[in-house]
């Protein structure tokens, strides 16, 4: 059998040069700043969260997708009405694999439904507010939800429909919470703006609405976890096992009630830094809840995150319980790892997703002995790459200025610091870092290629030049990569698989990656007659 010829190994610099070669000079100059090679004592900047270049086949989506799809999508008991022509509502209908589990068959679950005002020509010409009002009424009549949300799409912003006014009117009329999002697709430069708009509105209109305190000794919120492929179910299982109470998740498998009582938790844990770090910040200012960065992707990462939570509460009972749980769970993880490691060790990966996943999944690959050659975010900001310390230096450009920043002050009735300044300082001294995220780049090997807003041309080129053993991105990228004979794992939607979070998730992922990097499919690219096309003189069996 023919042995697959490995490409000769190019240096990261040479790869970068290759990527830039084909661009017109102006485009090349911009991309140059968005492609970064990690080095020793790396303190240089990467350009991120800037406009995509017209005509370049980007991986990004839009603000509406970030708002409706990512943040509000996984919430089951809010009726989400898309105000606009039909497409936007249609595409965000069940396409993110957010799973949810209503407690009983009669409990609310609106997730399998898509609601839209299906704007027509005349609504664009004469305005769509009346139709939107009517749609709210009809939705209420049919479903009697506890809350409704309205999402503005591109044309709505242009014709000037006031979605917030309609929401206020409906709130009054129906006596339920109705709120709206100005998440028109053209705002901002990526989904990230949509996360921000969504979170701000939830924070303004829902968080703090219900002061009922849940039973439980150690109460936390899990922020930035979206229950793709059932991740949240596994995280909930582990937390419960440890005796930690989840007050809310933002927003995997979440409910209105969870958001409304989120301010009663004693600690915020942040998974996806990009999509939600500001909510953690605001909750700290307004209610006095400290936050830490955690990560439940990867078994070691999960163990580390649980220990951090236990350390925060500082209770021996919890600390012991967490160790027990880890001790109980780890052997199974180790068993699977032992099985896959010989097959995955030394293999290479590339990761281009979202605004934290491209970092988190590196932990899983590390556990399998795999190196991430190149990674980047679809809509990260500089702090997601370089760490939070750069936040004060980030220049706010015109596109970001459109995204409302909330002025938050301590809530007169509800602010109560969960830990005293001394306690926090002591914990810091013990190594527990608050409000901190070091970003993706410091954790990557030197000489890795970090690329912001990767596009299709560069993706295909990277694969061609570096032949990774596996490539991770989204559905749009999947099949061009596979045509080149490289297995491609979707990390937005998991290809119908998952969960990959927590201990059980890690096992699933190990097995999945082993399956992919050892598959025989990829070696069948050439038929026997192509391997050896020259016919010798004999034409018959002899």
């Amino acid at each position: 059998m023919a042995v697959e010829k490995k490409k000769k190994v190019l240096s990261a610099e040479a790869v970068k040069e290759e990527l830039l070669k084909k661009y017109p000079p102006k485009v090349a100059r911009k991309r140059d700043k968005q492609i970064h090679i990690t080095g020793e004592e790396d303190s240089s900047e990467i350009m991120a969260n800037v406009r995509t270049i017209p005509g370049i086949i980007t991986m990004r989506g839009c603000t509406y997708a970030g708002c409706k799809g990512v943040i509000l999508g996984p919430t089951r008991d809010i009726v989400n009405i898309t105000h606009g022509p039909i497409g936007c509502g249609f595409y965000s209908w069940l396409t993110r694999r957010n799973q949810t589990k209503a407690p009983s068959a009669t409990d609310e679950n609106f997730m399998p439904y898509a609601f839209s005002t299906d704007m027509q020509d005349e609504d664009i010409i004469f305005g769509g507010e009346k139709k939107l009002e009517q749609a709210c009424l009809e939705a209420y009549e049919l479903f009697k939800p506890k809350a409704m949300a309205i999402f503005a799409t591109c044309p709505v912003g242009l014709i000037g429909d006031d979605v917030h006014a309609v929401a206020r009117k409906m709130k009054e009329k129906l006596g339920i919470n109705v709120f709206a999002f100005s998440c028109e697709g053209y705002k901002g430069v990526s989904q990230s703006a949509g996360h921000h708009i969504a979170n701000n509105q939830i924070f303004t209109h829902v968080v703090g609405e219900n002061d009922t305190v849940k039973m439980g000794e150690y109460k936390i919120n899990v922020l930035g976890e979206y229950n793709i492929g059932g991740d949240a179910f596994e995280i909930e299982r582990i937390l419960e096992k440890c005796g930690i109470t989840m007050v809310s998740t933002f927003s995997g498998n979440s409910t209105y009630e969870q958001f409304a009582t989120a301010h009663t938790a004693d600690l915020n844990t942040v998974m996806c830094h990009r999509s939600i770090n500001y909510v953690a910040e605001m909750m700290e200012t307004k209610y006095g809840i400290p936050w830490i960065k955690i990560n439940f992707i990867g078994a070691e990462a999960t163990a580390k995150s649980l220990r951090k939570i236990a350390q925060y509460f500082g209770d021996k009972k919890l600390i012991d319980r967490v160790e027990e749980v880890i001790a109980e769970e780890m052997p199974q993880v180790q068993a699977v790892l032992d099985e896959v490691f010989p097959f995955t060790k030394g293999k290479t990966a590339m990761l281009f997703v979202g605004g934290s996943r491209a970092h988190h999944y590196q932990e899983l690959f590390n556990e399998m002995g795999m190196r991430t050659l190149s990674a980047g975010y679809e809509f990260g900001h500089r702090d997601d790459y370089e760490g939070r310390h750069v936040i004060p230096d980030i220049k706010v450009d015109a596109d970001s200025r459109n995204i409302e920043e909330l002025e938050v002050t301590p809530d007169t009735a509800r602010f109560s610091p969960r830990k005293s300044v001394e306690q926090l300082m002591r914990l810091e001294a013990e190594g527990l870092k608050f409000k901190d995220y070091e970003g993706m780049m410091p954790e990557m090997d030197k000489g890795s290629i970090v690329i912001d807003d990767l596009n299709q041309y560069e993706a295909d080129k990277l694969v061609e030049l570096m032949k990774p053993d596996i490539f991770c991105a989204g559905i749009k990228e999947k099949f061009s990569i596979q045509k080149m004979g490289v297995p491609m794992k979707q990390l937005h939607s998991y290809d119908y698989g998952g969960p990959y979070a927590g201990f059980k998730g890690a096992c699933n992922f190990y097995k999945e990656i082993k399956r992919m990097v050892t598959s025989k499919v990829w070696s069948g690219m050439k038929a026997p007659w192509e391997e050896n096309p020259e016919l010798s003189a004999t034409y018959v069996w002899e």
């Binding site: 084909k22 661009y23 017109p24 406009r51 995509t52 270049i53 017209p54 005509g55 370049i56 086949i57 980007t58 991986m59 989506g61 839009c62 606009g84 022509p85 039909i86 497409g87 936007c88 509502g89 249609f90 595409y91 965000s92 396409t95 068959a105 609310e108 399998p112 439904y113 898509a114 609601f115 839209s116 005002t117 299906d118 704007m119 609504d123 664009i124 009517q134 749609a135 009809e138 009549e141 049919l142 799409t153 591109c154 242009l158 697709g185 053209y186 705002k187 015109a398 596109d399 299709q456 295909d460 989204g474 559905i475 749009k476 099949f479 061009s480 990569i481 045509k483 080149m484 690219m525």
Partner: protein
């Protein structure tokens, strides 16, 4: 119950669409563009629409779907998108080197009133379109029509820009296949070859969206209608347009502009529509139908007769696109099945009239709605249950709740493969459809049979 909030009682809604049975124009335009050889579709608007359209097409076809976008941000939305499109055209030709760019608008660029013709002319003047390369375009606002309309508009836009008449006939027949699968286009070409009629098929996504794996990625695979062919459509002997909604406009454009006579037929799904297609083809091409085609027809008829008893009287709920539903309804009726609830999201009163007329021959009046949604379909089904549901993947929620046999048909099919490779049109396609329907109906019978009646033979 996944759709547990869907009540039996039906109230007319005037503003709220729930679980739509259509989507927006640009995705259709993008699909049509992919059927042109060496073409990169381009979405003129903000990048979210393009991402959504690419994702949905990719999920349906399980193939790379490349398309560029003008990536509007707030500025472009205020000042117009001309600068973005000019820059995009330049970048696209430099980086991706397509033969053709097929530009369509989105709600956003339509609402601000960008004029594609004017911008493309400007690009031409400024030398942004290299010699020998082309930019075609279509206006596709999503607040009019549906994805089907967008498809139709892009096909029309393409012939509008490219087709020409040299005064010399090319002795070919144009086939405008409508929004069908690449497998269907392949099958139509096979039938035309059997009947011996030289054709130009536009668009043609076979080989593009059901391509092979070779170890290299070709951004522009071998398939697709070439620019030379599209130009030549103005010289053809005639046009067969399959589907009033998808294909008629382009055919009529060729007729008006170049006097290429056209006939609008149904998409050849089912025996009757296929018969009409083959007959029209033979007449247009001046050939006779060979034995091979008659043989396939006979096989289909044989299968229809053999399994008639399992289809007979079965009530069906249908959702999808107008051209496909019309042909499918007729097919089901020839099998003596009863499509009782039929919904399309695409507006057009003619649809309701045509379906009603088809069922009238069978002596009943179906529930039919154009510009309807799947919520309504489901409510109808609750009031008058059916034996089978056929439609896109979103039907699986209804099928599960109502515990129904389900055949995936139409767009988008997100959760099963096959449609890209195995046709539904023609006699063979009809046989495949019957196989699928029979499979789910008999699986259900087997599942529900008590042990004493669970038997081996048919």
């Amino acid at each position: 119950m996944l759709l547990r909030h869907t009540p039996t009682e039906i109230k007319e809604r005037s503003a709220l669409s729930i679980n739509p049975a259509k989507t927006c124009q640009p995705i259709g335009a993008m699909y049509a563009g992919l059927g042109i050889h060496g073409c990169l579709p381009h979405s003129h608007g903000s990048q979210g629409c393009c991402a959504y359209h690419r994702s949905t097409l990719t999920r349906h076809y399980k193939e790379p779907v490349s398309a560029a976008t003008s990536s509007f941000t707030e500025g472009a939305s205020v000042f117009g998108g001309q600068a973005n499109l000019l820059q995009a055209i330049d970048n696209i030709f430099t980086v991706y080197e397509p033969e053709v760019i097929a530009v369509h608008t989105t709600c956003l660029s339509e609402t601000i009133g960008d004029d594609l013709k004017q911008i493309v002319d400007k690009a031409q003047k400024e030398g942004k379109i290299p010699t020998g390369k082309n930019v075609v375009y279509a206006s596709t606002p999503s607040y009019v029509g549906s994805h089907v309309t967008g498809f139709s508009n892009m096909v029309k836009g393409t012939v509008n820009v490219l087709a020409e008449s040299t005064g010399k006939k090319n002795h070919k027949v144009n086939i405008i296949p409508g929004w069908v699968e690449p497998s269907d286009m392949e099958e139509l070409k096979r039938i035309c070859a059997m009947v011996g009629v030289p054709i130009i098929m536009l668009p043609d996504t076979s080989g593009v969206l059901n391509g092979p794996m070779t170890g290299t990625y070709e951004m522009f695979p071998k398939g697709g209608t070439t620019v030379a062919e599209i130009k030549s459509t103005g010289d053809s002997m005639g046009t067969l347009a399959l589907g009033e909604w998808c294909s008629a406009d382009a055919a009529r454009t060729l007729d008006t502009k170049f006097k290429v006579p056209c006939r609008v037929l149904d998409i050849p799904i089912g025996i009757k529509a296929t018969d009409r297609f083959v007959d029209a083809l033979r007449i247009a091409g001046g050939t006779s139908v060979p034995e091979t085609v008659a043989f396939e027809r006979g096989q289909m008829l044989d299968m229809m007769a053999d399994y008639h008893q399992y289809f007979f009287g079965k009530k069906v709920a249908l959702v999808g696109d107008p051209d496909q539903l019309i042909a499918m309804t007729e097919f089901l009726l020839t099998l003596d099945m009863k499509p009782v609830h039929i919904v399309t999201g695409t507006p057009g009163k003619k649809f309701e009239a045509r379906i009603t007329e088809l069922c009238k021959e069978k002596g009943y009046e179906p529930n039919v709605r154009a510009h309807g949604d799947m919520f309504l379909l489901h409510q109808w089904m609750k009031n008058d249950p059916v034996d089978l549901i056929m439609g896109n993947s979103y039907c699986k929620y209804i099928a599960r709740d109502e515990d129904l046999p389900f055949v995936r048909f139409g767009f988008p099919i997100l959760d099963r493969p096959g449609h890209q490779y195995f046709a539904s049109v023609g006699y063979r396609g009809g046989m495949r459809l019957m196989e699928k329907m029979l499979g789910v109906l008999l699986d259900r019978k087997d599942r529900d049979s008590p042990e004493e009646t669970f038997e081996l033979v048919l």
